[in-house]
Symmetry: C2
Subunit: 275 residues, 2 copies
């Protein structure tokens, strides 16, 4: 056992997805595509008699993190820091679960390889109902295409071979758990169609365009988000909505060119790593 360990996990915005349920949480998940971000979550783990989780200095009850610690059979103090908005479609819970898995594996010398840690974190996130595809995307980095749902060895990922500056502006949260527990047939059908078209031409241009079509067809595009996305398009930019949050992401300077205050980062080249 060591004194502590720290992992960095990129943020992740999903642009389009379909839902794939399975009794086995390692096989459940989503197909879809998104962008991992250099703005991410740093997760520190130290041994403790009772498990406790902090997010940006405040006590937080994150079921996926509790699930990871349980699966590893350890109790720990987990501290997460992030500049990302929470609950707004950036995969913060998935990042916390994955970062806790990497760091706790190091601290407690659990002896797992990376795929097993990704699987643990994915299972915990699926069982918590807080996400279906962030963890595997965040373990990969880049602009991940989730070709087949689920964690290793079931899921399969590809990537869009491009990099870009990314801007984002968040106007509030959407409950992932609420959307995932509702009627998702229309959403999934729209997600499958959008993914097929992206696989025909795996570029960032196509990804953002198909994300917009998906958001609209899935009925997830709220009026306020639609207006912001429209403003970016009018200014000649490329933007869509982050799933699931009232958040707009844009490539390059899309949001600032349209007159919005936006955070800026880049596509993250790497997946989760110990620091």
């Amino acid at each position: 056992m060591t004194e502590g360990a720290r992992a960095f996990v990129p943020g992740h915005v999903t642009g389009l997805f379909s839902i794939h349920r399975d009794d086995d949480p390692a096989r459940a998940g989503s197909r879809g595509a998104g962008l991992t971000l250099t703005d991410g979550v740093t997760v520190s783990v130290r041994p403790a008699d009772d498990s406790v989780v902090f997010l940006n200095g405040e006590r937080a009850d994150v079921a996926a993190v509790a699930g990871v610690l349980d699966a590893l059979g350890v109790t720990a103090r987990v501290e997460a820091e992030t500049p990302l908005p929470v609950g707004a479609g950036f995969g913060v819970s998935g990042a916390m679960a994955l970062g806790a898995a990497y760091a706790a594996n190091a601290v407690f010398e659990c002896g797992h390889a990376e795929n097993a840690l990704v699987r643990l974190a994915h299972e915990a996130e699926v069982e918590a109902g807080t996400g279906l595809g962030d963890v595997v995307a965040q373990a990969r980095g880049g602009a991940p295409i989730r070709e087949e749902p689920g964690a290793p060895p079931h899921g399969r990922l590809d990537g869009v071979p491009e990099t870009a500056r990314v801007e984002y502006a968040s106007f509030g949260g959407l409950s992932t758990a609420e959307v995932l527990s509702g009627d998702t047939e229309t959403l999934s059908a729209a997600g499958e169609r959008a993914l097929d078209r992206l696989l025909d031409a795996p570029t960032l241009d196509r990804f953002v365009a198909e994300s917009r079509t998906f958001a609209s067809e899935a009925g997830l595009l709220t009026d306020d988000i639609d207006e912001v996305v429209g403003d970016v398009l009018d200014a000649g930019g490329r933007a869509s909505m982050a799933m699931l949050g009232r958040t707009v992401f844009a490539l390059d300077h899309g949001l600032t060119d349209a007159g919005y205050d936006a955070e800026a980062c880049r596509i993250h080249p790497a997946g989760a790593t110990l620091r």
Copy 2:
């Protein structure tokens, strides 16, 4: 078509491996484990009437790069720059093939996703006889474990969830093509045993120890390399031989602590990326 594009591909030292031949070059490859390095190869591609390849400013005849350009159906000027020793076990030819695939795909807007580019580069490297596992490892980053041989969708990778400073010192080359075309039964049996033991405890400690056992059992350890590795061990460090080169790699300050002049870098967190 754009004016040009540039990709960075990490270097890669293999510590242990077994050879898996197949008539289909996408299924052929190696199982094994290694470290990707922040010292790598930057590959620039520009359209040209006739294909020409440069390595560190000199004309170079790299069959794997020619194979990639052929497979993409393009002619280009490819310029690679690297601080790594060439032909000494750092995967420079694999990096050039993979970097050429990423950059040419961008320049000529070929429309491939990342897995297809990795497959192209792996096939070209296998057909050139210059490598069996570097390309898939260099596409992944980290400390890759090649669980199943071959390129996507056939191969399967995992990783050791650790990072470290890496030192290396090279005393000359070994011909990959010569070793691969010789009797490789003993080598592969040793590689399979070493990989099994690494998968039981996927840590960097175990990786370096099993790499040493492999190098010795495979009959690849030359006297001069054995002596350097022994000196690092005597100084309390961890080191083994890079496959295939007369090269020693060590974790942390292993080589300098033992009194050797060594280059220093780190495990690279990411796979190949466009710049």
